[in-house]
């Protein structure tokens, strides 16, 4: 009996002590936080963007660090779960005392993080979130990619240019990214002569889309706009082919993952999606990046990796220009980014803290993703 009474308080004390880890930017490092989906539904997004980000940080450290200190990237996994991103962002800000936040790729999770970063006065740079609402959270939130009002029109323009006058829409109603992209696609497409034959939706994590696809098939569309993320789209394509739907699928940068073709296989042939970057671009800077990335990770970089790299590089450039990591000064330096030569293009952050960049259209051909054209804003 006596032993039991002693054990409980001792246990509680032990747990309390584990919380006291040494944290915060001490005199010799600059802490940079990263929120990424390393596991879960959209794991390739986080893994790719982390690879790119880590590469940029390692390069900077090899060159001697910044402001006389080494850079430390602290990555937290949000498991592709809505709700987790906010929790780990708070943890990075309060426990690890990061000077800036990099992340997230998925718009829904960036929308969670943005108000938290804004309230704490910590600048946040999203590598790939395209929903316009992300940067509307405040002046400390930035992004280095284009936004959906542009991306939606890209695919709409492309569809019309191919003569596809009737399109059916399939949206992931649980993802802000997908809902936003669909809205902008619809607006441009309908206003420019296209007809929407039907609109269906599903939720992230769903595996069966036969019901929605059967309803879509009845409308006989020329193409299907599937604005969701890669792991559902791959299954959608497979099931569409099983039902006898031959129309190509169109999508956005949420498709960008090696998993798309791995799972979707032959069903993805002839489908198109808009993206930030193509690793086939022959410009020397891009090819050098591709080579470095491939040597380190054994696979060619996708857009998320390139954007992760650019977001980190821009942050580091801003730290250098600001000469400090103090919140407001750093924020102002980031906002002043103009014509930065990123891997994904020349990056200038406008007054809404978004980047104005061209989009590339990629096609799935013979089991590989190939570049077809670039559409400028």
């Amino acid at each position: 009996m006596k032993i039991r009474h002693f054990a409980l308080p001792a246990l509680a004390a032990a747990f309390a002590l584990t919380g006291c880890k040494k944290s915060g930017s001490d005199a010799s490092t600059i802490n940079i936080g990263e929120v990424a989906a390393m596991t879960g539904n959209t794991a390739t997004f986080g893994q790719s963007s982390h690879n790119g980000t880590q590469m940029a940080i390692d390069e900077a450290n090899a060159a001697g660090g910044l402001l006389g200190k080494q850079l430390k990237l602290i990555t937290e996994d949000d498991q592709s779960k809505q709700g987790e991103a906010g929790i780990v962002a708070k943890k990075l800000i309060s426990r690890s005392k990061v000077s800036a936040l990099l992340g997230e790729v998925a718009s829904g999770r960036s929308l969670e993080m943005a108000p938290i970063a804004q309230a704490a006065g910590v600048p946040m740079i999203s590598p790939a979130s395209t929903n316009p609402k992300v940067t509307e959270a405040g002046d400390h939130v930035f992004r280095v990619c284009f936004i959906d009002p542009f991306q939606g029109t890209v695919m709409a323009k492309f569809a019309l240019s191919k003569g596809w006058k009737k399109v059916a829409i399939l949206t992931d109603s649980k993802q802000d990214y997908s809902v936003g992209l669909t809205e902008f696609f619809k607006k441009y497409y309908s206003a420019n002569g296209g007809t929407i034959t039907g609109e269906q939706s599903y939720g992230s994590g769903d595996k069966d889309f036969k019901a929605q696809l059967t309803a879509i098939k009845a409308g006989a569309p020329d193409a299907i706009f599937a604005s969701g993320y890669y792991n559902e789209v791959a299954l959608v394509a497979k099931q569409a082919r099983e039902l006898g739907i031959t129309a190509p699928l169109l999508g956005g940068d949420g498709w960008d993952s090696a998993s798309l073709i791995e799972v979707g296989g032959k069903a993805m042939e002839g489908c198109y999606y808009s993206n930030h970057f193509s690793n086939e671009d022959q410009s020397p800077a891009i090819q050098e990046f591709v080579k470095k990335y491939e040597a380190k990770h054994g696979a060619k970089p996708d857009a998320m990796a390139a954007l992760g790299y650019d977001s980190a590089k821009i942050l580091l450039d801003a730290i250098k220009r600001a000469g400090s990591v103090e919140g407001k000064a750093l924020r102002d330096a980031i906002a002043a980014t103009k014509d930065y030569p990123g891997i994904t293009g020349k990056i200038t952050l406008d007054e809404n803290r978004n980047a104005n960049k061209p989009a590339v259209i990629l096609m799935v051909k013979d089991g590989k993703v190939v570049y077809t054209e670039t559409i400028a804003p």
Partner: protein, 307 residues
């Protein structure tokens, strides 16, 4: 009309998957009065076991016709998962044999979480493409309707296992022992039934069914990940409750109803203002309705507590 028929077919196949998983839930409850929440995770382990076996034996399997390799993988995975189910029972539920029901229920949830997160550690959380055990042959493609070989096999296997289970429970000695145990555990020991053996057998059988369900599900939706068992497990649980938990034909009926209703809501909901993404809620609305209006389920009997 044709679209409606296709949607019905879609619903039928979707329902047969739920029925298959629900069979396991209902059988374990019927014998042990215990809802095995870890069932959905044995389902997931079945799919991963098949994935692993296929990788291991890829060379030898390639030489055989696909029905043979399918049966080999199916039976081997079912056997492995049955063994796993027995081990789980031994470690997690047997020590709680004489404790209140609630304790075992909570333990089951714990086992479920344990399997999921250990799976995430072991297999990684990224989805893997499940090997094609059944070639994508279209069995019927008449006038717009499409039925693939995979669907036919899923339906066929569900019916086979349903029938087989009924035979085991009604016509074998072990089945007799299971029924005796479910009526009264104490009296059954007086009649010479070794309760421990029967319970282990029940779990093994239930896990084998879950594994079969997992493999067929993965054949239909070929991307597997450690958390794939949660949603189908939950819906199958609703199906089992709908049909009357403990009642084997009830599980099949419940699965079919949920599959068809969900598919029809997904397909036609758009036209009455329900976005198809809300179809997830259908199963749970049905659960609420059945619990309010007929808690013993469609085919279940009301259990009176006799003093």
């Amino acid at each position: 009309m044709e679209q409606f028929l296709q949607q019905l077919l879609n619903g039928l196949f979707q329902g047969s998957i739920y029925a298959l998983i629900a069979l396991g839930y209902t059988m374990v409850y019927g014998v042990l009065r215990f809802i095995n929440f870890a069932h959905g995770d044995v389902f997931m382990l079945g799919a991963f076991t098949a994935y692993g076996l296929h990788k291991l034996l890829a060379g030898t399997l390639a030489a055989m016709p696909w029905p043979v390799s399918l049966i080999i993988i199916l039976v081997a995975s079912m056997a492995l998962c049955a063994a796993l189910g027995i081990v789980i029972e031994l470690l997690a539920y047997r020590p709680l044999r004489n404790r209140p029901r609630l304790n075992v229920l909570i333990t089951a949830i714990g086992v479920s979480l344990f399997i999921e997160y250990t799976g995430q550690l072991a297999f990684g959380a990224t989805q893997r493409p499940f090997p094609e055990l059944i070639p994508p042959i279209q069995v019927v493609s008449a006038g717009g309707l499409s039925v693939s070989m995979t669907h036919v096999i899923v339906l066929g296997t569900t019916l086979l296992l349903l029938f087989g289970l009924r035979m085991i429970v009604m016509k074998t000695k072990m089945g007799l022992a299971m029924r005796a145990l479910s009526l009264n555990p104490t009296a059954s020991t007086l009649m010479g039934v070794n309760n421990s053996v029967v319970i282990s057998f029940t779990f093994g059988l239930g896990s084998a069914l879950a594994a079969a369900g997992g493999i067929l599900y993965a054949s239909l939706y070929p991307s597997i990940e450690p958390f794939m068992g949660i949603q189908p497990g939950l819906k199958a649980f609703v199906a089992a409750v709908l049909g009357g938990i403990g009642n084997i034909p009830g599980a099949a009926l419940g699965g079919l109803i949920i599959g068809i209703t969900e598919t029809l809501v997904k397909g036609y909901g758009q036209s009455i203002g329900i976005p198809s993404g809300y179809s997830e809620g259908v199963a749970f609305v049905i659960l609420i309705l059945i619990l309010v209006f007929k808690p013993s389920g469609l085919l279940g009997k009301v259990e009176r507590e006799k003093v």
